[in-house]
Point group: C2
Chain length 336, copies 2
């Protein structure tokens, strides 16, 4: 009988230790999902992508390691990816139908449920910084186009000439997409293979147990009519709530908006009692598949559990955790 | 023993009859939530609001009665409310900081999860029709500002001179709000009492068991920087999924975006097994309250159960169902 009580007391103790344990500081990032089959890139290109992902991962993780906030880690990682011409965000954004670069971004704080988003900015060097300024320095959540630009100016954010966002690679893709469209008349014409590359995002869990998520993109090649995709939509391209999880999405945005993918994963965790991984798998492999959409998500739970899930051939992705996990990957081989 | 089996067989039969029963065709509409205490309006004004709500309700319900789709019912009811100067949508929209009318709208089909939304249009007479055109005639879900206008033109939608949206009442409210702001310096200054009136919305369940939801608004008085509120955001101002429910929101949009209110209600129904009423109550009276936000929702389940819930003093609202329910209300007395 004594051993029973002893065992019971020990298990209570273990329980409280487990509760008191700080979950491992963790950052997960992505650089977009798409038709990324092995062979798509040369070994040198692959190395360049992995090096940049690693750099962003390390910058974000070092913020967490120093006791910084999940928000700061997410912003730092995304700024680095925006500044790289490799990804479809900030410098290196794809071109709209009119041959312009129009950028969207969003950020969310899982502790307060504060959020900020911008759609269709053309001069702000780092849209993720503008999204954060909207969250922290305005009464609003989302600003669009010229209004967002005006707010950026008022906030003193760094702006660049429109030419800054130009890259030869994206210009060629734009010209090819226009050409492909001329030769086709079906609905797919505006969406040549590979159009979905390169949205970037990050989710982080800091040492205080707070979650944050952010997403930044140049949107879809040949987009028109001031099309707004999922990246600046709270609940679609981004969501964070300490009660459940943090998510950043990448893919064919229209499907992500209709399914409110980021919120849905967190809702399945919160109300359905599912693990982050099960919820992410359900949303991508059941719901997104059922509608015929493509893309992926990174998701991170308040307990440090995470998932990197996509139904495309590959997704630029990386994770680094206090638990010792470090992974940088492109193709499907390591999909969870 | 025989009576036991007979009873069992009968209850099985009753069960299958219940399953096979078509849920009652139902439409629920709202005309905005806000500081609507008794005495806010004269008896004549109250009668005018109730008459217009009844007219919209009847138009929507007659679509359902004739075997029309939930989408058509939602659109018909909202068009009527947009055309009325009483509500903050279409004619009668509030003014932005620059003294303009900028309109947002969204619509969603619960059968297909198709959705359409527009933000910041200034010339389209019925933004809800434009949202539907985006849903049905484009590859995209959301268009903003000048791009949305261009799409409207291409679709041949009716446009009006900007002056069409002007009403004396809203212009006076705009001038008063500007004046009130000058006299105050705190954060509340841009939000005088009553700023939240009048977004309109509808949810419907048709005889085929399909759900739809729509929302239309002029947004927030004194809004600036191309502010996008919750009304055109799928998951915040609107959501519809035959698996769970249809929701249209009204209130202080920023809170509705952060909480993805419409999607959250449907997620609680889908994953948490809650009733539509319990889910709507939780979202408005627990979650929205906790953040300090104000407003309300109408929600309609696939079984015909519905809720009209708000944490403000009142909400213009009405419901009509094949089950025999008819209710038109303004103040809190009949809040479910």
């Amino acid at each position: 009988m004594r051993s029973f009580f002893l065992g019971f007391a020990l298990s209570l103790l273990a329980g409280s230790v487990a509760l008191a344990q700080t979950p491992p500081a963790t950052i997960v990032i992505h650089g977009g999902a798409g038709a990324l089959a092995p062979g798509r890139y040369s070994p040198e290109e692959e190395a360049a992508y992995k090096a940049k992902l690693t750099e962003a991962l390390d910058i974000g993780y070092s913020v967490l390691e120093d006791g910084g906030s999940a928000l700061d880690a997410v912003e730092a990682a995304i700024v680095l990816l925006e500044d790289s011409p490799l990804f479809n965000a900030g410098k290196g954004a794809v071109f709209t139908r009119e041959g312009k670069n129009e950028l969207d971004a969003s950020i969310m704080d899982g502790a307060s449920l504060n959020a900020g988003a911008v759609a269709g900015v053309v001069k702000v060097k780092n849209p993720i910084r503008l999204a954060r300024a909207v969250m922290e320095n305005s009464e609003h959540v989302m600003f669009a186009r010229d209004g967002a630009e005006e707010f950026a100016k008022q906030q003193g954010l760094e702006t660049v000439k429109k030419k800054y966002f130009y890259t030869d690679k994206r210009w060629r893709a734009y010209k090819e997409a226009l050409q492909a469209e001329k030769q086709k008349s079906d609905k797919e014409s505006a969406m040549p293979a590979g159009f979905k590359y390169g949205t970037v995002g990050a989710v982080a869990l800091d040492k205080n147990g707070n979650l944050a998520a952010g997403t930044s993109t140049g949107g879809m090649t040949l987009k028109r009519y001031g099309r707004v995709g999922d990246s600046p939509i709270i609940g679609a391209g981004v969501y964070a709530d300490n009660k459940s999880c943090a998510v950043s999405s990448t893919g064919h945005g229209e499907y992500f908006m209709r399914l409110t993918i980021a919120r849905d994963i967190c809702a399945q965790v919160e109300y359905g009692g599912r693990s982050v991984e099960d919820a992410a798998n359900d949303v991508i492999h059941n719901r997104l598949d059922a509608l015929g959409g493509g893309g992926g998500v990174i998701a991170l739970g308040a307990d440090g559990s995470y998932a990197m899930v996509f139904n495309s051939k590959g997704m630029f992705r990386a994770v680094k955790s206090e638990s010792g996990v470090v992974e940088v990957a492109i193709y499907g081989e390591a999909a969870k």
